[in-house]
Amino acid sequence: MLLPTTEADLAQAITAAHEAAEPVRISGHDSKAAMLRPVQAARSVSTAALSGVTLYSPSELIFSAQSGTPLAEIEAMLAAKDQHLIAEPPDYSALLGATTPQTLGGVVACNLSGPRRVAWGATRDHVMGVRAVNGMGEVIRSGGRVLKNVTGLDLCKLLTGSHGTLAVMSEITLKVLPMPERRATLAFGGLDPQRAVAALSAALGSPYAVSGAAYLPAEAASRLPVVSWLGGSVTLARIEDFAPSVAYRIDRLRAELAEYGAAEILDDGASRSLWSSVRDATPLAVQADDAVWRISVRPSAGPRVARALEAAFGAQYFLDWGGGLVWIAGPATSAAHDAVSAIARKEGGTWILLRAPDALRTACDVIPPESAALARIGLRVKQAFDPKSILNPGRMRAGV
């Protein structure tokens, strides 16, 4: 495996692969190897040695770092200035069986976002600039280091979430925000999923800037000591802001949602612990051999999806993003997988097979197929970046 220490070395490695027309497996510290489809390639390039923050300007709400920089390092740097990553990127290490640190590049390449996504946008919304090496070994830049930029096609968004199949990012610039002074959570006990999502919709549709909205059915709630004492299912709405605002808003929201029951108020410490668990999907009851799917639908469809999959194969689940993100665990069978893709299609949503044994993830689609017209454009766009199809072949789709 090649471990380039500079962008020029990275470009050279990709140029060599391009000239030899040999596929390259792209990784950071490999913490997401269990995601999507496994990549078979003659060569392997890691960004792990492309590490370090290159710019941090707290008053401009911006930082740049090389793609192999461990995320924890960035989070610590921001915390020292009371700032944070807006999309609250998750750490799926436990779910994916990873023991290595995740990198900034990995989070951006997978467009991973946590609970705050529902109110403040996804990781892709905060990528202000990238430097990357395309499949011909050319260094390309898109965006920059400013917060508002519409100059040229937005390749930042195209590369974010492209799982290293279009270009290898070498440096990324992200927008950040001040870390809220305080957080608190309303916890409603004992609602069924439909009522819960109605409550969460009311919370997200309130003027109180709710920044987290999740539903844990009884089984999932029992796995988190911070809420298990409530007994049964819990419906959770978070508010983060200056302390006086949080106190005021949480009271108002509690009063306005009284029809859903008398909510408990979880304080700052409990909220921190709770939402980092929700973020990392720890409430999901996953058996060792289970597959895990993330389904994204319109929030009101979340309960229907969960119920259908419970009925189909006894799925374990919980809901985030106000009901719009359905976490599913279940047997790694093609029947279960077909049930997931069928219900998501029926509800007009999308999904990703986040984790599965190789037998399943090599045999089926790990993300939904696109329409013929879009797939054709997709192939041409892939060609536009990587004409010999050497970057992470098969990672997102078989044969691409």
């Binding site: 390309i140 096609l153 968004k157 041409r380």
Partner: protein, 485 residues
């Protein structure tokens, strides 16, 4: 004068035949071919450039758009999409051999869902029209470009429009869930939907801000948000630009993200005051308008914190509004800034670069020096929180030398923006206006990468040509051959 690709002689020669073909696809009143009725489409918000198109078509449905596109593709006819024609970068400037695809008839709101916080609208709905449709339920659509009364959501999507509240609510790209589009080949695409975050490539992100280069938008799913309990503005004036800039930094560093943070320099303050009588401090070198939101108590708390910060910078005056009416009065001058400058100068060019906010004092000083050098006055108004500058360069369009000097001055400002780490355009788009400056920001490798992406959607370069990308020596270079190079 702007150059465009040469019109295709065969298309010009077949004009009658092409019009006949278009009329076979749409009702008679939806195809415009006579010169008098074509005239209004010759320009957009960048009125310095004009070109009467071959024809204008006004489709009413996605299917009609698909039929039109398939026809134009088959006939090799160029297509210029157009919303309300408010582009300040010439994004809808026609070409002599092109069909203008006007989207104003597709102006219906198709769905509003408060529980799922989204609305599905056609591209010809105005920006303010979305907010108006949901305001009775205390919801709103967040991006608010200053042209929001006229500009259409389809154009907002294609230009990734911003506004004064981006620091808190983001730009258009951050407020979309899905799009329906038609390709140049006449195929209908759906990207995104009513959910968050697609699993494949982020087509929604790529298409947003693509300036009509990739596909035609025929349906837009936007996020709608609950309105805050209230909002209130304050004004702080300083005797030096640097001091105002330092104050902006201090506010952000304190952890407060105001919903709006606007900056005006002395010439702009004076122009706005003469126009709007907003009681602005005429002795100030720089003025900030800062807006916060929340309950009255929350507003009081935030405004007190901001006032304390401003006080550390010796403001020459401060005014905290006590009511919604007073806030409107504070905003009145700012919202009328372009009109105000229009009153003191026969014509003006509105520039749109973005800079790192730390470079603000340096950039404004340099703009002042350039203004003195070229003898053209400039007023600066901008979104201070995100560094998006709008220098308004005053000139006289009846004097070609004055126009030329204004264009050169504008280009120099944008080059300066890039030099200090910023970009050519924060929200107005490249269009034709900044096309020839693209190689200031991007090298040829990077431009070719973007061109190949365009070719992937539009292999024959029929969609909005002559915009965004610097012209190659011959139009023939921008052909499918590029995708394979």
């Amino acid at each position: 004068m702007i150059t465009q690709y040469a019109p295709k002689p065969d298309v010009l020669a077949r004009r009658a035949e092409i019009l006949q073909g278009l009329r076979a696809l749409l009702p008679a009143d939806s195809v415009i071919g006579d010169e008098l009725r074509l005239k209004p489409y010759e320009t957009d918000g960048l009125t310095a450039y004009r070109q009467v198109p071959l024809a204008v078509v006004l489709p009413s449905t996605t299917e009609e758009v698909a039929a039109l596109m398939a026809f134009c593709h088959r006939e090799g006819v160029r297509v210029i999409p157009r919303g309300a024609g408010t582009s300040l970068s010439g994004g809808a400037l026609p070409m002599a051999d092109a069909v203008v695809l006007g989207m104003m008839k597709m102006n219906r709101i198709l769905e509003i869902d408060y529980a799922d916080r989204l609305a599905v609208v056609q591209p010809g709905v105005t920006n303010i029209g979305i907010t108006n449709a949901v305001s009775a339920n205390q919801f709103f659509y967040a991006p608010d470009p200053s042209s929001q009364l006229a500009c259409m959501i389809g154009g907002n999507v294609m230009m990734n429009s911003g506004g004064a509240h981006c620091l808190r609510y983001g730009v258009t790209a951050n407020n979309l869930l899905g799009l329906k589009l038609v390709t140049i080949e006449g195929e209908i695409l759906e990207v995104g939907g009513s959910y968050c975050d697609s699993s494949g490539y982020d087509w929604l992100g790529l298409l947003t801000g693509s300036e009509g280069q990739l596909a035609i938008v025929t349906e837009v799913t936007v996020r709608i948000l609950r309105s805050p309990e209230g909002q209130r503005a304050m004004l702080a004036a300083f005797d030096a630009i640097d001091v105002a800039g330092a104050c902006v930094d201090a506010i952000i560093a304190s952890g407060i993200i105001p919903v709006a943070l606007e900056f005006m320099d002395k010439p702009c303050i004076h122009a706005c005051e003469a126009f709007a009588h907003a009681n602005y401090p005429l002795d100030a070198e720089a003025m900030l308008i800062i807006e916060v939101e929340g309950s009255v108590a929350e507003q009081d708390d935030l405004l007190a914190r901001i006032r304390d910060i401003c006080n550390r910078f010796n403001p020459i005056s401060m005014r905290v509004s006590a009511s919604a009416e007073e806030s409107l009065a504070i905003w009145k001058g700012r919202k009328g800034a372009f009109g105000a400058v229009g009153r003191i100068s026969p014509d003006y060019l509105c520039m749109d670069g973005t800079i790192p906010t730390s470079q603000l004092p340096f950039v404004l000083r340099r703009i002042g020096e350039m203004s003195a050098q070229c003898g053209l006055a400039v007023a600066n108004v901008f979104h201070a929180g995100d560094g998006n500058l709008h220098p308004l360069i005053m000139f006289d369009a009846n004097d070609p030398a004055s126009f030329h000097a204004a264009e050169t001055f504008g280009a120099d400002i944008l080059k300066l923006c890039v030099e200090v780490g910023g970009c050519l355009t924060g929200e107005h788009g490249v269009g034709v206006e900044k096309r020839d400056l693209m190689n200031v920001q991007f090298n040829e490798t990077e431009l070719d990468q973007q061109r190949r992406v365009k070719s992937a959607f539009d292999p024959d370069w029929l969609l909005n040509p002559s915009k965004v990308f610097p012209l190659k020596n011959s139009a023939n270079t921008a052909t499918p051959a590029m995708a394979a190079e």
